[in-house]
């Protein structure tokens, strides 16, 4: 006679291969299924746990789909006006230089309305970290064109595709700030596969670690899908991202230890 295996037989410390980090709250995330924001939040939370810096970390949220990030991370957080997170972080880090300070911003927030704050915080070499979620669109407001929207890409305000003659070119702000002397570590990652998740987590860790050196700003761009805004299923969206976004926004480190890696 074989014994039936129950949940109690399986849920044991020695069988534990993964658990939710306590730095994530139990609140249910409001993100669309398949969206990269949730994964990015989790990785940041896990790194905070692993570095044991929960009491030392202050995060600044943007205006965008991740405006409610403070509901999900169990750390002190401030919500900024649209685009101004780097200004808040500048003050927070200067007033508390021993803390770990980060902003979390979408592409509209960081590369359109907040361009000045982004560039000047980078150029001043502020010792905080920017997590930049580039989904090529304004997710929160319903899929309008972003500064990062690809040429010919459709959005609700470029319904026939982005006509660069009329609407201007997409802005590679990450490459731009990598050229500024104030940035120390600049990288572009993705979170759509387990391999990429592991790499992105390593980058997030490196960004936080580099704050200890006080040698300048660290920026981790995460190219992510906005399946709702792109009007695709999550699977289609990730495929489209790999085929269209990655060639324009190639993944990998752009600047290490203050030195540009000459990829382009």
């Amino acid at each position: 006679m074989t014994k039936n295996i129950t949940a109690d037989d399986i849920v044991k410390e020695e069988n534990l291969v993964y658990k939710k980090t306590p730095v994530l709250t139990d609140n249910v995330m409001h993100y669309c299924p398949g969206c990269g924001h949730g994964t990015a939040h989790r990785l940041i939370a896990e790194v905070i746990e692993e570095m044991n810096i929960q009491p030392e970390t202050i995060g600044i949220t943007p205006v965008g789909c991740s405006v409610l990030m403070y509901n999900y991370l169990d750390i002190d957080m401030q919500g900024a006006a649209h685009g101004r997170a780097p200004a808040l972080a500048t003050a927070v880090k200067r007033l508390m230089p021993e803390k770990f300070v980060f902003t979390y911003q979408g592409d509209g927030d960081l590369a359109a309305i907040g361009t000045a704050e982004t560039i000047h915080a980078c150029n001043r070499g502020e010792n905080f970290t920017i997590f930049f979620i580039n989904n090529g669109i304004y997710g929160m407001t319903g899929g309008q064109m972003a500064p990062t929207t690809l040429p010919e890409m459709r959005s609700s305000t470029s319904p026939y595709g982005r006509d660069v003659k009329m609407m201007g070119n997409p802005l590679k702000i990450t490459e731009l700030v990598a050229r500024l002397p104030g940035t120390y570590y600049v990288t572009r990652q993705a979170v759509h596969t387990p391999v990429n998740v592991r790499k992105a987590k390593k980058a997030i860790r490196q960004a936080f670690e580099s704050q200890k050196l006080k040698k300048g700003l660290s920026l981790v761009e995460i190219v992510s899908n906005c399946n709702s805004g792109w009007k695709m299923s999550p699977v289609q969206a990730n495929k489209w991202m790999v085929e269209n976004m990655f060639p324009f926004y190639p993944l990998g480190d752009i600047k290490l230890e203050g030195r540009l890696l000459n990829k382009e």
Partner: protein, 358 residues
């Protein structure tokens, strides 16, 4: 021990900020207030007290730096002049919504637009009615001397922290640029203990702190608004500050603040020499506005003349206070023109003629 110095109004504000134990100043140059940032950079307060001074890339960035610092429970100050204050409005609205204290100095110049760099009082509405979007108010202090420029820095910080609301010193280019002697307070230590709501890092013994002005639930947002309004009501009860000069037997009074109030003191004297029983009510807090004393004076006097370096903004609050009980008129110069004591008396005489005819 207090210290006596000869200083410009702008410099007095900067020095008073250091001595009040401010933690940070963020600002962007604009005439006629650049001396505040210049003085701070020259004084190196980061060596004197550890206070941070940073020239921001814009007024927008500066006010959002103020937000970040205030969110950490720090005493943060910024200053600008009219066009720059317009740029700070979004940030101030967010700070009022998030209930963050800070001190903002507006050394007003004539507008609209780029206007002039000469003194004006044309930002009254913007200062006392909210200024940015949403239902909120700033605590507004109106100094009339270099001494008060210095004194109101400490007072402004105290009120801002007491009510968790931004406070503003509303002054003008004349007071900012003119030199007078000023008694400066002793150096106060910077805060070491921060308010319980500040984002100083979530220690194991408390819940996380979140600074935000967002609530997507309308009923919660409404409740939040009621709470904020309750603070403004309390300010109206407890924080009204004003000065009355020669009002006891007055038949006519000037109502004026800041530079205009200073000029009106001379006009009171000139008017009395000409046999007019004139007085002056000087609001010191513009929000909360001295409604009660004006209402009471409304029963006593035959007319009120609001004197402002604008087309007439505060005059509306004077009218609301007296509620039709007595005639209220406005006299003002604008675009950077400062009225003389004589022309103010002539304006008063014209008002008296009009009243005695009707």
């Amino acid at each position: 021990m207090k210290e006596l110095k000869l200083m410009k109004g702008n410099e007095a504000i900067a020095e008073a900020a250091i001595r009040a134990g401010a933690d940070a100043y963020f600002g962007y140059p604009i005439t006629p207030q650049s001396e505040i940032l210049e003085y701070l950079m020259l004084e190196r307060p980061y060596e004197r007290t550890g206070m941070i001074v940073l020239q921001a890339e814009s007024e927008v960035a500066a006010i959002n730096m103020v937000y970040g610092g205030a969110g950490c429970g720090r005493k943060v100050i910024t200053s600008s002049s009219s066009p720059g204050i317009s740029l700070k409005q979004e940030g101030l609205s967010y700070m009022a919504g998030a209930e963050l204290p800070c001190l903002v100095v507006n050394v007003v110049r004539g507008g609209p637009g780029l206007g002039t760099i000469q003194p004006s009082q044309s930002d009254y509405f913007q200062a006392v009615k909210g200024g940015g979007h949403g239902d909120y108010r700033l605590i507004v202090l109106a100094p009339q001397s270099v001494q008060e420029m210095a004194d109101f820095v400490g007072l402004g910080f105290d009120l801002a922290f007491k009510y968790r609301n931004p406070a503003m010193i509303l002054t003008d280019g004349a007071l900012g640029q003119m030199m007078e002697k000023v008694w400066l307070d002793e150096q106060k230590p910077r805060l070491k203990d921060f308010p319980s709501w500040a984002t100083t890092g979530k220690s194991a013994d408390r819940e996380r702190n979140i600074i935000t002005s967002l609530d997507l639930d309308p009923l919660k947002q409404e409740k939040h608004n009621f709470n904020i309004q309750a603070k403004y009501k309390k300010m109206k009860e407890d924080e009204v500050r004003f000065e009355m000069i020669e009002c006891d037997d007055a038949e006519y009074i000037f109502v004026a603040y800041g530079t205009s109030a200073r000029i009106c003191q001379k006009s009171v004297q000139l008017a009395r020499e000409r046999g007019i029983k004139a007085g002056l009510l000087r609001p010191i807090t513009l929000f909360p506005f001295p409604e009660k004393p004006l209402k009471e004076l409304g029963r006593q006097v035959k007319g009120m003349l609001a004197v402002e370096m604008s087309t007439g903004q505060m005059v509306e609050d004077v009218m609301l206070a007296v509620n039709g009980r007595v005639g209220v008129e406005h006299f003002g110069r604008m675009g950077g023109v400062i009225p003389s004591p004589d022309e103010i008396v002539v304006a008063l005489e014209n008002m008296i003629k009009k009243i005695s005819k009707s």
